[in-house]
């Protein structure tokens, strides 16, 4: 799945927002994985992280396990990372 441009990301209403700001690797990724179970297939999680590698880790994880990495948007001091549940 191709990553979306920022305006498209801004239009996404996530099924679940996870605030993992302040957590170090791999905390945000584990939070994302845990939360994914709570959204339906096709649903989107929005992961907030101050860890700058979360966006690349989330992309690697999503690709590996069959989810869709939609992209990320920079917010005030953190990243908003969007992943669609694929299975």
């Amino acid at each position: 799945m191709d990553a979306l441009a920022t305006p498209e990301l801004a239009a996404i209403v996530a099924d679940k927002v996870i605030d993992a700001r302040g957590a170090a690797c791999p905390g945000p990724l584990l939070d994302a994985k845990k939360s994914m179970a709570a959204v339906p297939v096709g649903g989107v999680i929005e992961l907030w992280s101050t860890d700058t590698v979360t966006k690349s880790d989330a992309a690697a994880w999503a690709t590996k396990v069959g989810h869709g990495f939609l992209g990320y948007a920079e917010a005030d001091g953190y990243d908003r990372v969007f992943v669609r549940r694929g299975k």
Partner: protein, 131 residues
């Protein structure tokens, strides 16, 4: 079936326990089965009455690093990794004997005790890392 990642965790200081927990959690999140063997000081670190208490840093940590992070939540990372993926944690039976620790004294994150042959059998042809 995916080949597991096997880790022999020998060290009992917070930095190395934390590094191991990070790798285990990452592999688990990526869908890789993890086969973890605790030996010696790592076995002691997983005693249910001691897990989570500060254990200090390795001797190769510089003085400036010593107080850099007060708490490394490695125990919680192991628990979460196990909750989210296929993670097998076993204590080396010889280490338990050597240290005089009954396996029942270990935290619930530890599945039990095993010998090295069982560990290698479960490692299959996958990589084995020693920490």
């Amino acid at each position: 079936m995916t080949t597991p990642i096997s880790i022999v965790l020998f060290s009992g200081t917070d930095d190395k326990l934390h590094a191991a927990a990070t790798l285990v959690a990452g592999a688990s999140a990526m869908g890789r089965p993890v086969n973890l063997l605790l030996q010696f000081w790592a076995v002691d670190a997983f005693r249910s009455d001691r897990i989570g208490q500060p254990r200090g840093l390795a001797t190769d940590a510089g003085a400036s690093a010593a107080e850099a992070r007060a708490a490394l939540p490695w125990a919680e990372t192991f628990r979460m990794a196990k909750e989210l993926g296929e993670v097998q944690v076993r204590a080396c039976s010889a280490s338990l004997d050597f240290l005089g620790i009954p396996v029942t004294d270990l935290d619930a994150v530890v599945d039990g005790a095993c010998g090295v042959a069982a560990f290698f059998a479960d490692a299959e042809e996958g990589p084995i890392t020693f920490i």
